[in-house]
């Protein structure tokens, strides 16, 4: 049966609160006018009225339907406008779109998550989802890297995870600041510190392209197979519907066939890290 819903029309959502996460990153808490649900790893198009829209994977729990949290880094035309928005205004939401994390495939396994920068936003949503099914998982390890300690987002998340059964969280920074006594180095250096049973594990990578590239290379060196590595790809997802062509990556529409892919699905596609 053909769906007669207008696929281009956004759902209005009231901006309830804006949280400063880091100098360049804010989290927007939205109350959609209608109930809105998504699967972890799926993305939405978040729209500033009359200005433009951009794709984001919500950072909130997929189990919560009355509100939605989206973490946005100020990096382009639309996100700059977003950062100037005050609570009370209405934004638009289209979606959810695409294929998220197949969490049911993680049952009985150790989940190693490699995150960088604002890539922790989709990962936080995944972590909420994994916390909800922790009885079915062996272990969840988060390794996260940010440029500096002040660029790290969701700081309370790390203590909370470390006090949660079956969860471990590690942080590193590229460049230390005064008062930082933690690890310094790129995120892959954290992989030397963890205990993981690779055969019974999956790895999730989300972050800037260069981090994803070297993260994947390191995971392969460690012995992960192409099928065990899940990548959350970022392209210019304009329509979210598999039509506009902007996010085409080889034969894939990242918006519809992804944004979550196994490395096995993408390894023969050129320019995936660009």
């Amino acid at each position: 049966m053909v769906n007669d819903k207008n696929i281009y029309k956004p759902l209005r959502a009231k901006l309830k609160e804006v949280i400063d996460e880091s100098p360049l990153i804010k989290t927007f808490i939205l109350i959609p006018e209608k109930e809105f649900s998504f699967k972890t790893g799926q993305f939405i198009e978040l729209c500033v009225d009359g200005i433009g829209e951009a794709p984001f994977t919500p950072s909130s729990s997929p189990l919560v339907t009355e509100k939605l949290e989206v973490t946005v880094m100020k990096t382009g035309y639309v996100t700059e406008y977003m950062h100037s928005l005050k609570p009370g205004v209405f934004m638009g939401i289209r979606g959810p779109y695409g294929r998220g994390y197949p969490v049911e495939k993680f049952y009985g396994k150790e989940v190693l998550i490699l995150g960088g920068g604002c890539g922790l936003a989709p990962i936080r949503s995944l972590l909420y989802a994994l916390e909800g099914i922790k009885d079915k998982l062996k272990k969840v390890i988060l390794c996260y890297g940010s440029k500096t300690p002040s660029d790290c987002i969701y700081k309370p998340l790390f203590n909370r995870l470390n006090s949660t059964e079956k969860f471990e969280a590690y942080r590193t920074v590229d460049k230390a600041e005064e008062g930082w006594d933690g690890s310094v180095g790129v995120v892959t250096t954290l992989l030397n510190r963890i205990q993981v049973e690779i055969k019974n594990s999956v790895a999730v990578v989300c972050g800037p392209p260069v981090m994803m590239k070297f993260g994947t290379i390191r995971l392969l060196e460690m012995g992960y197979t192409d099928d065990q590595i899940y990548l959350s790809m970022e392209k210019n997802m304009s329509c979210g519907l598999g039509k506009c062509g902007h996010c085409m990556m080889g034969e894939f529409f990242v918006c519809k066939d992804g944004p979550v892919f196994t490395y096995n699905e993408l390894k023969n596609t050129p320019d995936i890290w660009k």
Binding site: Y8, G52, C239, L241, G242, M248
Partner: protein, 329 residues
Amino acid sequence: MYYLSISKEEWDIALEQLLLSYTIFAPVENEFGQDYELMGLKDISRISYNKPKPATSLKSFFLPVKENVTIQPQIDKPRIILGVPNCDIQGLGILDEIYLDKDFNDLYYSYRRDNTILIASDCFGILRHCHCLSYNIRPYSVEKADMAVIQRDGMIILRVISARGEELTKKIPHVQPLTDGTIISAIDSEHKKTEDLLSSSNKGLPDYPGTGSLVKKANDEIWNKYASHCVSCGACTTICPTCTCFLLIDKPGFEKVKQLDTCQYPGFERVAGGEDALFELHNRFRNRYMCKYVWKPGKFKSLACTGCGRCIEACIGKINKNELFMELV
């Protein structure tokens, strides 16, 4: 599928009558060739029949250059598009797959499709760059259109293809079943002549899957060579009956305007962080070929190139994709 006939005079009168309930577009000859025009009462006699392809592709009737996709879709009257070459009829296949997708049905596209009757026109003769047959598309329609029209010796022959086409014939007085087998044989022979012309003018040109294999293997040298004449104007993709990429532009009130876009423009794939897989011109140039002959065939059943040759005609850098393919053979 069956044939009907009507005198040209009575056909013209029938079209004039149909103008009361339909908007009709049909090709008319001009100084450059022929192109679709909106028909008024005085224009019916100017319709050009059985000439190879109009300048504009059928796509523009279903995907306007720019439209607001947050207001109610509207068409004043149902439409008849008459004189559509089979390359364009086949080109609608991939548009249907993309826009009538069961998960994300485009209301605007489907509304236009539902309200449009397609009357194809058999091509008797070819233009310089026509190469539909190389991609296994015949120069006449026997499927996907609602009917096809052939003008011959003061008569109009209708090849009725779909139920919607059959319904339309009930609104055309004086149509008769075509019983004269010699006329059908003569039409078949015209088809054969056109196909012979296509074969001889495209000798050695690889078929559609063969083109895909060649494009996939081609090295940077060939893309750089041909891209050196490209100015990223996007004429090739704009005129192409199967290129459908677009951009959504936001307007106040959460309105969205959908505007045709092209991978040939700089910045097409650029993301906010600055990465741009198609930054270099030769990569954008190659992208169109990979999309049409390698990636889309892996994803869709319908052809992403119909061999209409319009991209060759439209290119201001005089880039001929068929010369590129012949160089790869």
